[in-house]
């Protein structure tokens, strides 16, 4: 799951601007109205702030960038998967409730969660009756099948995830646009015995298939209205709102879908009458407008800009309108066993022991940026255990003595030299690299820092095994956010050695442990949830034992909750965003 990278604005200039606006005082807190809930810091974390069923108003969103695509088959941004609930219904979704309940899946288009059979190789769903597209036509299982089929076509729709491609028994199927069946439903891996039933057949067992059913790819698409790459210009809605206007790259608006029947949809309160989204808006301007009340939501969900963050944390009144959301995201450094002398486990352990973890956290914003990570799995992921093999917490500034001992064990008593890569456009990664240079330098490990452009970082440089090896990238700055908050969603892309591609584009840069691969396979087949969750903890520990990753920060963001909003809460399932589909206007 991707988040829109926060573009580093000119902090000083913006700080001065915001300093000026602060001089004039604030008119945003609105606590003089008797019936409205009083804002508090973190009022939307773990609970609903200002619960409401009041309908009406226009919800105004702004995006500092642009969608990868509004087409459900072609999108990977976390905020997109949140917003899409306004105009699309997938088979299942995360329960729209705050706290740990939000981590659980609940049926949306389907009547119940999936029913596994054949050892979790087959999954069956029954669709609710009475659900219609925006034009009044009934939604059937064939529309869901067609939607999944088109999401398989990575040539036409390159951006979305590939879980269906990887797990369905495709038998050579590529795309409905090359499908020879007259109804374009030639994929044998999905069966639609009747209009209400859909059956998925997998190549291998997978106990977590409900998470795939949550993906936007299962949002139904009417084949007769499918215009391929142009479909995103007007996506046919199955949700409570439909597109009214769509100016690509500029803005779009949604209005109520009169063919959405609330009786079929227990998950969406559909409070606002209209939704407006502006694209490519200046990030600092967004913050100013949020605070002045001109705007309701910053859709990117990556938190306020650096200057605004300082202002909010320092001002008690403003802070009441802020929430810190824990993301299922880890900032870490990959430790490359392909580059000598890091091929020796003791040299790798020396790196982990010598790191100043407090300084690592400060590079990412200190307490407001998150918590020191002692292993890979963020604590809110079911199955995460407290693992701290190298005493990160008790030795926050590093353990130079233990590190030196490990260096002696790997035959480098005086330290060694290696290169560290990071993404040039990210000031936090640069700060981290410099911090590591310092703390590792204390035990004799000399780092040469190598910045790379972020657009190609994973495709051509750090993410390309040969490049990393030939250029002696011993340490590589990295970060990962789960596609969904469970062990598979978090771990699979970053610890499975079999996903590593020689052609580049990898996020797993350094974890190649057979035990881990075996444990992953075991988890995939374990349908008993608590037993499966235990395996994630085992995998986390095994990876840490090998010291091929240096965990840094379990990330948090600071979000500003506009006083215009009611019914606000943070969804853990969606990954630390406000549940957009539940928001209303005061």
């Amino acid at each position: 799951m991707k988040r829109r990278p926060a573009v580093a604005a000119v902090a000083v200039g913006a700080a001065l601007v915001l300093g000026f606006t602060a001089c004039g005082g604030n008119k945003t807190t609105g606590t003089n109205q008797p019936n409205v809930a009083a804002p508090e810091f973190n009022a939307a974390v773990g609970k609903v702030f200002a619960p409401s069923t009041k309908k009406g108003g226009t919800l105004k969103f702004a995006n500092s960038g642009d969608w990868d695509s509004l087409d459900p088959a072609d999108t990977y941004y976390g905020y997109s998967w949140d917003f899409i609930q306004f105009y699309g219904r997938s088979l299942v979704m995360f329960t729209p409730k705050p706290g740990p309940e939000g981590n659980k899946l609940t049926p949306d288009l389907a009547e119940t969660l999936g029913v596994p059979s054949d050892g979790a190789k087959t999954w069956t769903y029954k669709l609710r009756k009475g659900v219609k597209f925006e034009d009044g036509t009934a939604i059937t299982s064939k529309d869901v099948k067609y939607a999944v089929e088109r999401s398989l076509d990575k040539e036409t729709f390159p951006n979305g995830p590939t879980y269906y491609n990887d797990f369905l028994d495709l038998q050579g199927y590529t795309s409905p646009y090359k499908d020879t069946a007259p109804d374009k439903l030639g994929l044998k891996a999905i069966e639609t015995p009747d209009d209400q039933t859909i059956v998925f057949r997998l190549k291998t067992a997978f106990s977590g298939f409900d998470y795939f059913a949550m993906l936007p790819a299962s949002i139904p698409v009417p084949a007769s209205k499918d215009t391929g790459t142009k479909y995103k210009e007007h996506v046919v809605s199955s949700g409570p709102y439909k597109f009214e206007t769509n100016e690509l790259g500029k803005k779009f608006t949604l209005v109520r879908n009169t063919n959405w029947d609330p009786a079929t949809d227990p998950n969406r309160p559909a409070l606002p009458d209209k939704i407006e989204v502006s694209l490519n808006v200046n990030a600092d301007d967004i913050d100013n407008r949020l605070i002045s009340g001109d705007l309701d939501v910053d859709i990117a969900g990556t938190g306020v800009q650096a200057a605004t963050q300082g202002k909010i944390l320092a001002d008690a009144t403003l802070k009441k309108n802020a929430d810190t959301a824990a993301l299922a995201r880890l900032w870490y450094v990959s430790v490359n066993p392909d580059v000598a002398p890091l091929d020796n486990i003791h040299c790798r352990k020396a790196v982990l022991l010598a790191t100043d973890h407090d300084s690592y956290l400060r590079a990412y914003g200190g307490e407001a940026g998150g918590d020191i990570a002692t292993s890979m799995l963020p604590p809110q992921i079911p199955g995460a255990e407290k693992i701290d093999l190298y005493n990160f917490l008790s030795k926050k500034n590093g353990d130079a003595d233990a590190a030196k001992k490990e260096l002696t064990d790997c035959g480098q008593a005086n330290g060694f030299e290696t290169n560290m890569s990071y993404r040039a456009e990210r000031p936090k990664e640069k700060a981290l690299a410099e911090s590591l240079q310092q703390s590792l330098g204390k035990v004799g490990i000399k780092l040469t820092l190598k910045p790379f452009p972020q657009g190609d970082y994973f495709k051509l440089y750090a993410g390309k095994p040969d490049y990393a090896k030939n250029n002696k990238l011993g340490l590589m700055s990295n970060g990962w956010g789960a596609d969904w908050p469970d062990g598979f969603g978090f771990l699979q892309q970053i610890v499975d050695s079999r996903v590593i591609r020689a052609s580049g584009g990898n996020t797993n840069l350094t974890v190649k442990i057979k035990d881990v691969d075996d444990l992953l396979d075991k988890a995939l087949q374990t349908t008993d949830t608590p037993a499966r969750e235990k395996v994630w903890g085992q995998i986390d520990k095994r990876v840490m034992e090998d010291a091929v990753v240096l965990p840094g920060v379990w990330a948090k963001v600071l979000l500003f909750r506009s006083p215009n909003l009611v019914n606000v809460f943070i969804s853990d399932g969606l990954g630390g965003f406000y549940q957009y589909g539940s928001l209303g206007k005061k």
């Binding site: 991707k2 601007v17 215009t227 001109d294 051509l460």
Partner: protein, 351 residues
């Protein structure tokens, strides 16, 4: 042929030949720009060791495998020799091209300045749309900065050393020194969000839809941008005026009894206008190529913002399109400036 005075050819002919020569040079220059730009995006990465698949990796999602990269590289023509790729690009501009949408193909009519595989849209209609915004921003601001800049410069020159002069030049210094991303955010904060006098960032209404709304949306960016640029004009005008007003022919004009306004404007200012015209041509040309900082600060959907967004997203066809259009504007702006010299300053020979 006997010696003696050669009859001078009629003036319009000279002008026409000059214009034609300059137009041909402009077209040649555009051709060079297109080759160089194309080379930068599609040849230099190859020199640095990038393969066709590496180039294609920009157009695929993060989960693409090797097979998908090869398919995309083939689809985008990266396996063809460079001159074939360039030829295809030029052919698109002249004749148009067809692109696959999945179930059908879509036509990109001439001039087809490329097709963005990230937004799945031809680039040219976007550029036309964005040009209107950048054009509105540039022209509106230009009128304000020329009027204010030049008149301030004239008044300062005439009242040299006075308090007005000092304050005006001080303000001009501020305008030149303060960055637009700061003044822009500040003016938005104060005038739009606090006082609700002007439109919020990101507001733009086409003039054809509602001229009053169009002006209301742009007044703040116009003034903020003009403030930045007027400074140079004020200072230049003042310097030029001071030099000119000391000339003999000014004293002659006054001695002849001409009204002061005629002396100042028709004789003094006119001579000082030549350098002003030069930088005006450059400034306007550059702005029309995309007022990047202003558009980013005010979130205006113009060419500059388009270019920045395209660069951030690695959308090469868009960047190529913007570069070509920007270069065209600069080249033609300079051509017009050169022609204006002849109008303003009769001493310039069009030889």
């Amino acid at each position: 042929m006997a010696g003696g005075a050669t009859r001078r050819p009629p003036r319009p002919n000279i002008v026409l030949r000059y214009v034609i020569r300059r137009l041909l040079a402009a077209v040649l220059l555009l051709f060079v720009v297109s080759v160089v730009t194309f080379g930068i995006f599609f040849y230099i990465p190859r020199l640095a060791g990038a393969s066709a698949e590496d180039l294609a990796s920009r157009y695929v999602g993060k989960t693409a495998n090797e097979a998908q990269l090869r398919v995309m590289a083939d689809k985008l023509g990266f396996y063809d020799p460079l001159y074939v790729q360039y030829g295809r690009f030029v052919k698109g501009i002249v004749l148009g091209a067809n692109y696959n949408t999945g179930p059908t193909t879509v036509r990109c009519p001439a001039p087809c300045f490329g097709y963005s595989f990230i937004t799945q849209n031809p680039v040219w209609p976007d550029l036309v749309d964005r040009m209107r915004v950048t054009g509105s921003l540039a022209v509106g601001a230009a009128i304000i900065w020329v009027l204010f800049g030049v008149s301030t410069g004239v008044l300062s020159a005439l009242r040299k050393g006075s308090i007005f002069d000092r304050m005006a030049m001080g303000t001009a210094l501020a305008g030149v020194s303060l960055p637009i991303f700061w003044t822009g955010l500040l003016t938005l904060s104060i005038f739009s969000y606090r006082m609700h006098l002007t439109a919020p960032g990101g507001s733009y209404t086409p003039i054809t839809e509602n001229p009053a709304e169009w002006a209301y949306d742009l007044i703040l960016p116009w003034i903020t941008l003009a403030f930045l640029i007027a400074a140079a004009y004020a200072r230049l005008t003042r310097a030029g005026m001071l030099e000119t007003m000391g000339e003999d022919y000014i004293r002659t004009a006054r001695a002849k009894g001409l009204p002061e306004r005629t002396v100042v404007v028709k004789h003094g200012l006119r001579a000082a206008l030549t350098p002003i015209t030069t930088i005006f041509g450059l400034d306007l040309g550059l702005l029309l190529g995309g007022a990047v900082l202003t558009e980013s600060t005010f979130s205006l959907p113009g060419m500059g913002k388009y270019a920045i967004d395209a660069i951030v997203n690695n959308d090469l066809p868009k960047v190529l399109g913007v570069t070509m259009v920007g270069a065209t504007f600069i080249i033609f702006a300079n051509l017009i400036v050169d022609l204006l010299y002849a109008v303003i300053d009769p001493r310039v020979r069009l030889s």
